[in-house]
Amino acid sequence: MLAGLFLSLSTSVPTSWPSPGDFLGPVRLPRAADDEPLLAVRAGRVIVRPGEEIENGVVLIERGIVLAVGKDVPIPEGARVLEGKVACAGFVDAWSSLGLDPVSVYDPNVTPSSRTLDALDPWQQPQERVEALRGGVTSARVQVGRASIFAGLGALVYTDERSTPAVLLEDACLAGSIGLARGGRVPDVFDRVAEVDRLIGALDKARRYRESQVEFRDELKTWLEGVAKKVTELEKDFKKAKKDREKEEKDAKDKGKEFKEKKFKEDKKPRAVRFDPDDEAIARAVEGEVPLVVEVHRASEIRRLLDKTEPFDRLRLVIAGATEARSFAEELAERDIAVIVWPTPMGTWRADEYQAHDLALAGELARAGVRVLIGSGGGSDARELRFLAALAVGHGMDAADALAAITSAPARVFDAAQRVGTLERGRSADVLVFDGDPLDTGAPLRFVIARGRLVVQ
């Protein structure tokens, strides 16, 4: 194993907050956990990130933040020390609806600008979140609107519920789905193809919406400059114009004709683009500010989706489900399109879109270089994540890839790599302590630390 990344730390524990500069993007700082005692985890193997471990390293945690990870980090007295064989970062479920109001999850008239945050219901089914924590899942990407083509803005949330806001990222992604059975009706081929085209059409419209906004801004700037120049001119020869006008007025009155004002002409002000919340949301995905997660399963739709999204170069596409994506492995790897796989055993009674389901998909995609994420299938049983990763390894996936698929990879794809997914200084203190390898379902999970608080022991 690579020698641990050694971090020397001055003995004095820094009291100041890690500077905001450390954090990337529109991320909310977790408020201080109520004054928890200092926590320290000592483990035979500390997995900083899959593939990088420290031999009997120590993880120091204070106020919900990992303060230091290293070989011989000094542990201040008064800290509570937890021993274990292996320590690694908390699992991140890439595809879940944990803690959401069930009606909203399957609401068909969700629009691209709907926010999953509005459905986050801490008072509903707390035991689902407790079970998820006991399964090691400390944060999850949750999504409403599984039954509509566009499902709005997903969010990245912590699974433990406390007074501090449980939201890690309000707008982790824009989501959509193609070819799913909506309202009990299984779409035929033409419907499915039409859904791809509607999705692409919406992306295109949003792109033009954003371009026209930029255009409008430029036109308005030039127009305003023009007007300002015009006004200075007019003010300059206002006195002359006033004299001329009085003369003309007098003449018209003398001749008994009716005085006619001079016609004033100027080019019209450019019209602003009408504000459309849906286009705003989709435009953010087209510009790559947030990834676009599309649940799609059959080969024909994946083929069409990959071809049609080619021109959107800044779009960060992520495919969920991807049951028949085996033959597109190279293209997915080359275009760096992440794939969220749901490797659960399925009997014969599976939904129409999972007909070609095979547990080996995750392994094959990973071997072809695709960035593979593992999710619990959009349902609320996130506690199965560890079993799913183990099953994927059992069917040919490399162990390090599988651990990455539930820790660092989802954090990276959803722009939260600075907060979760790895055990490094400055990260949120989500730490799991095992009696064996993290994916060894035979070895029980001893401790779960979520945001610096020991929740399971």
Binding site: P122, W123, R162, P165
Partner: protein
Amino acid sequence: MNAMLLPLSLGVVCVLSPWLAAQEEDDWTISADMVYTAAGAPIEDGVVRVQDGKITAVGKGGGGSLEVAAITPGLIDLGVEIDTGLYSVEQSRESAASLSVADALDLFSFQWKRELTSGVTTVLAVPADYDVVGGLGVVLKTGGPATLEARLVRADAVLRGALGTQPSSGNNAPRFGDPANFYYRRPTTRMGVEWVFRKAFYDTIQGEGVTEPAIAADHDVLRRVLAGELTLSVAARATQDVRTAIYLKEEFKIPHMIIDDAVEAWREPELLVRSGASVVLPPFPADGRVDDGFVNDSYFVPLEAARMLHDLKVTFALSGHGSREVGTRLSDQAGLAQRGGLAFEDALAAVTLTPARMVGVDQRVGSLEVGKDADLVLWNGKPFEPTARVVGVLLNGRLVLDPRPASR
């Protein structure tokens, strides 16, 4: 727009004192400002002594290990409607008299505990009313180990029949073909229901050779009803159903009959008095109107119905129908009966001794007398008043709801 602050800390949950693991101790002395024994005058500053599940002493005196405002006997509800729905009645034949609901009860259901913690300690469980003659009902306690022999007070307490619209609900006669089999059902009207009812008793009385063992068993049960060994409990809500029940009672000279869920029994005073049937009143709806539920019709029960039946000297009991809403349970019905003019003692009797007597278990439960089961309800004020509440319950001498922790 900042994210919502969603705190975990729920509002202080001031729930009923939590269900305590059944206290092992079996002997208690409980004193109260008023002890309503339902078997004589109420005792001021009385005390009740309980040992090994039985009442060993009732009398004046104080200093009990528990001090409460009032003690009443465990309440008894004959119309509690806790059953496994359509699984509790055998619909393969119209009259399944020999089948008992004892084999179809779910003693793990939370509804028993809901009744127990609201003061109801003994109930009559009967099959659902989807058959004309549903089968045998049992009287059992609402607490204790979740097995029937632990909770049973009286097996085969009543034979359950039903008139009105429910037994015929959902049946549809075919447009052609043999109507009599199980897959096309008779009856489809109230007349049909009465025909099946009369036919069951008529065949029993004729008693000619019946080959089918199940039918023979049914006839034995019906014969016991005719001989008066078994009480017949008939669900009859509308005026015409109450009349039909009484006519059937007089036609077949059925000695003991309870008219259950008798919404409009108050409209037939002469028939009730003449027939000598006893009555179980439904919970009093706020606007007096009870919906039929199977057809678009509704029936009317005034608040004074209990007082009217009392004045007619008809034996009657009140029922809460296992209501989920606080304020409409059996203890509240006794209050509403008083609002209709019934005296407190008669209201107390209508939820304790009278129902016990109607199903023949009054030698074990129904009143606070030495030797009876130690089923006690402890109140924090005048019983059945809205300003009072059940704070403690003893079942078979075990404290199943503890008044001591200061719970709201």
